[in-house]
Subunit: 235 residues, 2 copies
DNA sequence: ATTTCCATGATTGAGTTCCGATCGGTGACG
DNA sequence: CGTCACCGATCGGAACTCAATCATGGAAAT
């Protein structure tokens, strides 16, 4: 499994729940237009006040068009969530390629920076934290012990094992899963008290993840020179 | 501000949004019955598929009764969320009284254990993690620097400062806020892959919080003998 | 190469169903 | 017996459908 396999597979914008795969050109534009509208409306009126009529109007489409592509109101939100995740993954992949991190920590730091940046710029990004996750399709099930691996964790696991030789396996996946959860929670908390993102929470998320990472992989990577900041009694 | 003030204040079951304060006895039973029904329905059909009709039927009440107490569908869910939080707080207060923790870590550990236990036994407890938090009334605003303090963090801050002399202030509140977010995220993740709670995530939540706590308050409390487990390369 | 043509995909929006929310009437409490 | 609690038919509006209409892009004709 290579990096390009992971990131360049299924670039398809459509969420898991599209009723009809778009065939003509214009319809894929419609589809993304619908999600663009959904994202804006979500930011405006919130997660549970959104109506299909609002989405349709914003997208310059009719109600019927919404239902051509999505079975119901909730499916639209799930599709938005998946697109946002997909975009985040692509962004992380790009950033890693550009930054060319020299340590696992720098890699994770890329992911954090991208998360913060998208929270600030990508409409509807909030949905990542607030949406109900229970119906998400399980992307992969680790055969060994049954840990369900999320997209992000699986992606980062590949990068970390390929670039830094961390052994790919359930432990790595599990730890990345934990890191993803922690970072998402603390960062989202930071954006709850401040729409531009409270820097204290962002800094703390970085600190927590770097310590976590160092705790598991700090010593064995000493030759690479881990640049992970030390947990200090700040302030 | 004493412990009893914090925990025994506002035992009122009603959420913030009740239309009419119940006066007769039976109506308070109705109110909690409605929330009981809501909790069960939330567990059954999920957060965004719930309807007021379902709630009414489950509670053995009519639609009108639901709207007598709550202005709209969303308010019912918020009320459930607040009741769940309230019950959790009381549970933590009780457990701390019973366990009589000797260290900050033992105190936090109480809170984690209570969280896990309530996830297993309290219907609708999932809502703590999944519900949209953006419309929650801000319980308190730290005057110094504007950190909004959640119920749980504020409560634990009082306990830790009263029992162990940690200095009560924005730093402590902030760090507890971070801990609450991290624990809730990782634990909820554990209940996502396993309805009874995946023990690996639970253990990891404990480990992460104990390390976090030790990082800030480990040394200065050596005389109490912190029992916080060390972050080990487990497995 | 250009135009015509048309099968099929895409869109529409009035119409249907269902759910959120109301309110006047009835029953129960104290 | 006044007031509080409850009910459920009813209304308004949002979710969702479907038959009719429009647009597309490729094939056939020239």
């Amino acid at each position: 499994m290579s990096l390009s396999d992971l990131f360049e597979g299924d670039i398809v914008e459509a969420g898991a729940q599209v009723r009809i795969e778009p065939i003509q050109q214009r319809s894929t534009a419609r589809l993304s237009g619908l999600l663009d509208a959904t994202a804006i409306v979500v930011d405006e009126v919130g997660f549970d006040r959104i109506t299909t009529a609002m989405v349709a109007e914003r997208a310059g489409a009719s109600i019927g068009t919404v239902y051509r592509y999505y079975p119901d109101r909730v499916a639209v939100l799930h599709a938005l969530r998946e697109r946002v995740i997909q975009r985040y993954r692509l962004r992380v992949a790009r950033d890693i390629k550009l930054a060319d991190p020299k340590t696992p920590w720098e890699t994770i730091d890329c992911a954090i920076t991208a998360f913060v940046d998208m929270y600030r710029t990508e409409p509807g990004f909030r949905i990542m934290h607030f949406a109900d996750r229970e119906r998400l399709p399980i992307s992969a099930v680790s055969p060994a012990d049954g840990i369900e691996v999320g997209f992000l964790a699986g992606q980062l696991a590949v990068v970390l094992s390929e670039r830094f030789g961390l052994s790919y396996g359930p432990e790595l996946l599990f730890r990345l899963e934990v890191m993803v959860e922690m970072a998402a929670a603390v960062l989202s908390r930071g954006f709850q008290s401040d729409v531009m993102g409270d820097e204290r929470y962002i800094a703390e998320a970085r600190r927590v993840l770097s310590v976590y990472l160092a705790g598991y992989y700090g010593e064995e990577l000493e030759q690479h020179g881990t640049a992970a900041p030390v947990l200090e009694s700040a302030e």
